[in-house]
Symmetry: C2
Subunit: 125 residues, 2 copies
DNA sequence: CTTGACCTTGACACCGGCGTCAACGCTTAC
DNA sequence: GTAAGCGTTGACGCCGGTGTCAAGGTCAAG
């Protein structure tokens, strides 16, 4: 299939697909007229990428998963490199959450100081 | 004082100060040669901006606080507009935290599915 | 032959808060 | 005079994942 069909079936734009290719995530065969030609496996690759993007992964993060699928594994996350990314992302998310909680309390403290009584305390255990 | 001194005393770069001015947060008088001229009140304004930036506010968010100080209030957060920003930011942060928690559990679920046993469950209560 | 729908590459725009460089003016010290 | 060290404005770069437009090639249908 060509890029338009893959785009429709994957729910992404042709632009995005070209961008993935530009970053080495998906290589397309070229037909004689220069058009990109994809197969069913590529649909799977794009789905993997989108599902990772959806949970906040970057394209760089997605790379090992795509490679894992290309290598023939039935799941993109079953390779050690993918698992390493999973762990790292979990750690990143945890760090972000801690950072947000800290910022939240700082903001609440500033508000309490600037305007005592403005902050409705609820569940500050 | 001129921009270099204000920059040193505030711990920001001259570039940042010009950027704040460009965004209408701080106006500087101009001496006859065109140099920006600041006073002590400006030191306070910059400090307010930096303290807000430090907790994740944008310059737009900081604007009401600066205006509040300019209006003569002793605290930048004591004006109703500032309090509104405080509340909005707290809501934003809470939303971000919820989003991160959701993403965290999705990632953990994907990891658990792709590689059962890889995820060391700890305190998932 | 022409229209129109598809494809190609290349490049600019976005968002925020600056860093950095260019090219130039002012002021002071030597 | 001149060099150093301040100041000025203007403009590009960054980061990620596209959207969007430009200018053109390809191909099937009428």
């Amino acid at each position: 299939m060509r890029i338009g069909e893959l785009a429709q079936r994957s729910g992404v734009s042709p632009r995005a697909l070209r961008y993935y290719e530009q970053n080495g995530l998906i290589r397309a065969r070229r037909s004689t007229n220069g058009y990109r030609e994809y197969d069913e496996a590529d649909v799977r690759l794009v789905a993997e990428i989108r599902s990772l993007i959806a949970v906040g992964f970057t394209l760089e993060d997605a790379r090992p998963f795509v490679e894992c699928l290309k290598a023939g594994h039935e799941s993109g996350g079953s390779c050690p490199e993918s698992v390493a990314v999973y762990r790292r992302k979990l750690a990143d998310i945890d760090a972000d959450i801690r950072s947000l909680l800290a910022r939240r309390s700082e903001v609440a403290a500033q508000l309490a100081q600037a305007c005592p009584g403005c902050l409705i305390t609820r569940g500050e255990s």
